[in-house]
Amino acid sequence: MTFKGIQVAADSVCDLPVEIVRDLDIRIIPTYVNIGDQSIADDGRGLDRQAFYRQLPSMRVQPTTSAPSPGEAEAFYQKMLNDGAEKIVSIHVPDRLSGVLNTMRLGARAVDAERITLVDSLQLTFGIGLQVWAAAELAVAGASLDDILEAIERVRQHTEVYAIIDTMQYLQRSGRVNSLVAGIGTLLKIKPIVRVADGDINSLARSRTWSGAEAKLKALTLDQAPLDRLAILHIDNRLGAERFLDSIGEIAPQETHIIEVCPTLGAHIGPGSIGVATLKQDWRN
């Protein structure tokens, strides 16, 4: 057992690339995708993303997703403490959209609530990842808990997550963002351009065509420059993501990733969508 100071943890919805997770020793607890009778850990191993997204449109019953169990959360934290962590900063998918924080809270309480700080990222996918990434960098550098929490807040304030929802069909069935669904309407195919903020998803614009939606996404993204970090997000649409990156190439920073969104989130949004997660340079000021 080695003394490790502050350990950063998150759930798999943060969509951080494995290299970053590995290099900064971030601990990730998987959420679950439930297909029929099977409950599969969304840990990037148990579930073949490509196959999952290819099959999603033809699945008779839409998959559901679920949080880890309280028992798993307990074991997750216990292991980190056993491995020498003095304190844990645990950053998660918003309370408003998921039960993850609640089970993590139960797990933390069963282990040692004093030593575990739970953070509602109020973000999704790499919007969470940007917070986790910055927190882990600081933790590795030996920063204090207060400094880490303050940095998370700053990252959050300088982050935007925008996406084109290619089809509303999956969000309609998922039932997690009813206000968005009801606002957009359900009879026509409409591609909303959404913003994730404050733990919720809201429409910023609506387009009936992909190119209209993409133009809007591009304008929103360019507005965020200069960028410190950028991820182009997609769900089974790598080509679309690459094309979009080309179109905004001039503002793409060194740290640019193309990331396929995890099935836990993707199951609710559906294949075809693309999006961005941006972090403004100003956040370091």
Binding site: Y32, S66, S69, S174, A182, A205, S207
Partner: protein, 555 residues
């Protein structure tokens, strides 16, 4: 084995048996619980989540042959904790954990212990939720426990105590819509609450589980009654619910008798009031049975689940969208539409008033004035959606209040819909905070002009127009007031019109099919067209307009 026959004190083996049987029964209710969804669509997962939680819990005790109730309850709770899925599953796991903790110093469960354990369970559950919401599984757990506590010292047998618990849970379940407005709006009880009530009902001694020394059945075996797939079947059937009132009603018998009549059967209540909820192909069957039984029927509700499914969007808009549109209430929109489907489309996009009308049926100034009066917004847009209606709309706007009412001169339904989406998009952007009327109008006009509109109709006589020989009964494609093509069949007219009007920048073809076209027919057409135009996206929408088999938008 004999110790468990004592209804005054139940040991671990008896508890295990009761749990097995309760889970088995729960499996029969999974679908009903899933469907107890705020939206009337088969996509809820509360039932399956709770069922998985219970199954995982049982796996911890399935090989256990221990009469120690502390051990059985502890391991069951541990399994639930590990397998908890979804919010209801998590709360259920906390209930079981609290329940088990109270039993840790016990050898046999009796009524006072049951009351204490339930109380602890409810406390644990409340404690597990950051901001407890009433009208949910939490309320049912708490209220059932409170009722039981009132009777805890009356020397009741355990079976009697459980009976009280179950009835109290069911009563509490029925009250959930009173506590949670969204349930009431949607006409459902809370799904997690129903799950808990169903589970408790399975434990209850009505079937004598605690008294019956039979070998426990593994709950997994009871699964076949549940079919995940049935919700995706082509036929949704009817959802039938009613109350049976009478004396000495036998729930078990009713359940058994109705089992064959349909699926997703739920029979709950007591010997004087029984609630039946069943999905059937023929709604007459269960009702006939209930009448024949001599019971008095009340609260009969029959719903066509397929229509319910299709009607869903409108319902959502009226309830869930309300808060969103309040913010944007500066703009009210009045549209003219010639069919029920098109009316629904406009309403779905937040249109306050839709006037029925169109080609050959132009609304009057008065029709517009009535509509303007009915809209509360401070600024009103009218979408006339027909060349011949624009004048009337303008006149109405003038006589109402020119400053309040603006007419967007949309000449087709397709244009009107584009303009309306542009307005909503503009509102979404938040750039509208100052009520920037000019920008709103600019966005709407631009959108209306960008979309290309084609109308397919039928020639009523022979004629010759613009170099086209048109026979009576030919199908015509009209675009921008011009006859584009004439064809002998609808499909020929649609195809020729597309070939003529499609431009490189077009991505999406929307077809609104009229009341003379069957859905199947329209779907087949779309399928064939998407072979020809594989790079285009197609959207098929029911328009319900007369005279025009198809209205088509290209954008």
């Amino acid at each position: 084995m004999s110790s468990c026959r004592n209804t005054y004190g139940v040991d671990g083996k008896a508890l295990k048996r009761a749990l097995a049987s309760a889970i088995g029964q729960f499996s029969q209710h999974v679908e009903v619980i899933n469907e107890m969804n705020v939206f009337p669509v088969p996509d809820g997962d509360t039932g399956i989540n709770m069922y998985h939680t219970l199954q995982r819990a049982y796996s911890e005790i399935s090989d256990l042959d221990d009469s120690d109730i502390a051990e059985v309850s502890r391991r069951f709770a541990y399994g639930a904790l590990m397998g908890a899925r979804g919010n209801s599953g998590t709360i259920l796991s906390q209930l079981l954990k609290g329940f088990a903790e109270e039993l840790q110093s016990t050898k046999a469960l009796d009524t006072p212990h049951l009351a204490l354990a339930c109380k602890r369970a409810a406390q644990f559950a409340y404690d597990a939720v950051t901001s407890p919401v009433e009208g949910t599984i939490l309320t049912v757990a708490r209220e059932a426990t409170e009722t039981l506590e009132l009777h805890a010292d009356e020397g009741l047998a355990l079976s009697e105590a459980l009976d009280i618990l179950v009835r109290a849970a069911q009563a509490s379940l029925r009250r959930t819509p009173e506590l949670l407005p969204i349930l009431k709006e949607s006409g459902v009880v809370d799904s997690g609450a129903l799950g808990l009530a169903s589970f408790l009902e399975g434990l209850a001694p009505g079937d004598g589980k605690f008294d019956r020394p039979e070998k426990a059945e593994a709950p997994v075996a009871a699964r076949p009654g549940v079919s995940m797939g049935s919700s995706g079947d082509a036929s949704y059937g009817y959802d039938v619910q009613f109350l049976m009132l009478g004396k000495d009603l036998n729930i078990a018998q009713i359940r058994q008798d109705l089992e064959q009549a349909g699926w997703s059967l739920l029979v709950v209540g007591d010997d004087s009031t029984v609630k039946v909820h069943i999905h059937v192909d023929n709604p007459a069957l269960p009702i006939d049975y209930a009448v024949q039984s001599g019971a008095i029927l009340d609260d009969i509700v029959i719903e066509n689940m397929e229509l319910q499914f299709r009607r869903r969007p409108g319902q959502e808009t009226s309830s869930a969208a309300a808060p969103k549109h309040q913010a944007a209430e500066a703009y009210g929109v009045i549209a003219v539409a010639p069919g029920d489907g098109l009316r629904a489309v406009f309403e779905d996009l937040g249109c306050e008033a839709v006037i029925r009308g169109g080609q050959g049926r132009n609304p009057s100034v008065e029709d517009f004035l009535v509509a303007i009066d009915s809209v509360s917004a401070s600024k009103v847009f009218i979408l006339p959606n027909n060349r011949n209606i624009i004048m009337t709309a303008r006149q109405a706007a003038e006589s109402a209040d020119e400053r309040r009412v603006d007419v967007l001169p949309t000449t087709s339904v397709v244009q009107g819909i584009s303009a309306l989406i542009a307005l909503r998009s503009f509102e979404d952007s938040g750039e509208d905070s100052g009520g920037d009327l000019d920008s709103a109008i600019r966005e709407m006009r631009a959108a209306a002009q960008q979309v290309c509109s084609i109308e397919i109709t039928r020639a009523s006589r022979d004629s010759r127009l613009g170099g086209l020989a048109i026979g009576c009964g030919d199908f015509l494609a009209i675009g921008d007031g011009q006859i584009l093509v004439a064809g002998a069949t609808i499909e020929a007219a649609v195809r020729d019109a597309l070939a003529k009007a499609l431009k490189a920048e077009h991505e999406l073809v929307t077809l609104y099919y009229g009341d003379s076209i069957q859905e199947r027919e329209a779907k087949d057409l779309i399928e064939r067209l998407s072979f020809t135009y594989s790079e285009l996206e197609f959207d098929l929408v029911f328009g319900g307009q007369d005279l025009y088999p198809y209205l088509i938008g290209l954008e």
